[in-house]
Symmetry: C2
Subunit: 480 residues, 2 copies
Amino acid sequence: MVVKRKKWSEDFAEWFRSTLIDATVMDYRYPIKGCGVWLPYGFKIRRNILQILRDLLDSTGHEETLFPLLIPESSLAKESTHVQGFEEECFWVTHGGLTPLKVKYALRPTSETAIAPMLKLWIRSHKDLPLKLYQVVNIFRYETKATRPLLRMREVATFKEAHTTHATREEVEAQVMEAVNIYKEFFDELGVPHLVSKRPKWDTFAGAEYSIAFDMVCPDGRSLQIGTVHNLGQTFSKAFDITYENMEGKQEYVWQACYGISGRGVAGVLISHGDDQGFVIPPSIAPIQVVIIPIIYKEIEEQINKTCEDVAKRLKVANIKVELDLRADLTPGAKFYYWERRGVPIRVEIGPRDVKQNEVTIVRRDTLEKQNCTIGEVTTVIRTLTEEIMEDLRGKAWRWMRDNVRRVDSLEETKQLLAEKTGVVEVLWCKSRDCGLKLEKETNARILGIPLDLEERMIDGKCISCGRKATHIVRVAIAY
Amino acid sequence: MVVKRKKWSEDFAEWFRSTLIDATVMDYRYPIKGCGVWLPYGFKIRRNILQILRDLLDSTGHEETLFPLLIPESSLAKESTHVQGFEEECFWVTHGGLTPLKVKYALRPTSETAIAPMLKLWIRSHKDLPLKLYQVVNIFRYETKATRPLLRMREVATFKEAHTTHATREEVEAQVMEAVNIYKEFFDELGVPHLVSKRPKWDTFAGAEYSIAFDMVCPDGRSLQIGTVHNLGQTFSKAFDITYENMEGKQEYVWQACYGISGRGVAGVLISHGDDQGFVIPPSIAPIQVVIIPIIYKEIEEQINKTCEDVAKRLKVANIKVELDLRADLTPGAKFYYWERRGVPIRVEIGPRDVKQNEVTIVRRDTLEKQNCTIGEVTTVIRTLTEEIMEDLRGKAWRWMRDNVRRVDSLEETKQLLAEKTGVVEVLWCKSRDCGLKLEKETNARILGIPLDLEERMIDGKCISCGRKATHIVRVAIAY
């Protein structure tokens, strides 16, 4: 069975925009640009995805908190690199009622400077460390680029940000690696293929020593950053004077890391597995895992509906999330279309022949492959199928991405591939800033950074920019 | 065993403020007035309480969504009563980066006007109704009164608001009653005693036909509004032109209700069951239901710790949330204090005598009563105890409240009781606005409204204000 992915790949932006609304995930027609509404069905997908992330964080010693949205300008301004990176991107609250505020407040663009003054109050001694906190909140960026549903919002309504504080440089380095592993596990569980790269110096988070990012490749060949991990060093502890008493009784500045995944994490799942029919939701996070649709023939309508109800009950008892679609004003075909668009991973059809043979027809959303089984087997078959589907989704998505990451030797070919938007290009690099910026300029693309997920250690060749001996592989892409 | 509630009742404001921070529920020292941080332990209590509310709403056909925070002034201004009620209370965003916005944005003070433009897009026909949505979000009020931790915040970080849309007046009336019942069930499950009253006309939500409120009585005798239900009639549907095609093919305006519970819902739980030692968290929502504390005697330290671990394991297997406090640098007494302040409902002590007799000592947080049981019985005993504790908490809180709601005949006595802040006073009333406002003025108090939770139907007596025949009982209190 060939899955159609023409609209998905040839008109990706439109495919994503229209599927989000048709599949009732997000409605983007809110009267403020860059703000959208999470609809009930989309909200459940979002919640289930966040639950995986929360479980991973909770089980590794992170604790969930909730910090205020508003950040006084005086806090934001305490760290100069940070404020420079964000002040022109902030929404500013200047009035309470009709009264002008003495100090204006930023809507958090990220929460380092909301958290820092509290850490200063909380942290006294080495016994208070490490402190690993996270929150799931909305953040705001006054984007001047074109906004895009879920991919570039002004209100990022879903932002999981973790902030950790440590006693030593070694500990914060270890935490950065733990964070990378948590995010790998998260995206792997959802079958979202990703590249892990260390961003170049000039593309580091404002205030960080270095940044590691997770990128995926979109159907249109552009890369999409879906997660970041930053080593903040002592930038904020020095700006906010956050110290602890070490074992020897001496005051030391703390070390910090932060890492985040936004609504793009949800987008990553929807994009990776989608096709021309709409979304395909991985069974593990699907709000509805199975939809049952009666194929009514008037003579035995009652018997068919009864069988549908029986099957629904069996699945419910087995803790499978099932929906029985008995709407009388829609044809089976219209129902197929309706649920395919929403990406319900498994459809069960029950018609006259099925009832006669005490069977059901099971259809996979991802491949549209059909199979039959007896009613007695239905729970077992569907259980097995959900695992198979997840494996297949994961495999297909990874194959697609690997086909769209290309190793290239010549600048000409790099330029051509990027101009044609064929995905991510890997080239050799001497790691000099000049060569990096030159490469970005010549290709009109962005350096994603040095791969952290390749075994390859020996680099043998020349820098694509200057022709001198290369020291690193580097990834380049047209980025969202 | 007598529970100490002197600080609780005599210095309630200070008791609540200091316990919130000592019990690590909320830290209020954020650099913006009226904004606080939900700490990990408090966050879990909040989450567990919200889960009860979410379950109640989900099981009655409500669906969770997420609407944007920002509301354009043009939307807020569409309904004139509503904007008058809120514009001086809004925080206003006027700039994106350094650029002044063409239309300024309010941080939602409530979401009617964020939701209305979307309802207009979504609702076409009677088949789209009823539509019952809710969300859990932060809302903002530029409070000019003194802010108070959790009770009067500028960022209300926890606001569950439901918004429902219906075809007829009868249906919205029925929904209002459903909402009242859901909130009753919610507060009953948490053992929070409440009064349900219909607010007087002059104290109705801006834009509503009428408002029903849930109030509790605080230890200092002041009332605290902990939930509200509003019948919005067609106010917003007319302002935003939200219509549907009825069965006869005619366009009609929809009918709406909204109802909300804020962080005060959490405060209600903490306040109702607290005492001078700190909070007492109901077992059903306690992040930690049982804490195990070894009473170490050096000679048999290893054996005691081993027994503690064994008991912890038994409880975990039985799905009881248990914490084993093995901190070496704290005495048992210091640990008792630490966990009592946080309100962990059950403490298990294991010392040399317990180990010798293969027993444990179980202590209730609410009464400090002790009992012993064998290690084999521990799970069963604790299960039973959690139910007993919940019953006792509920009973004690209700008795306390009933003692603090008084029926009074004379204006003098009403004035005196309210001046002494002894709780809620019920008096007879002719229901005229003049008498109501006069009563509020003379008592310096607030009319909470006409009881909806009393069986009493026959009113025989005179209006406390004008002396004419009374038609209703009315509640008066010094309100938060």
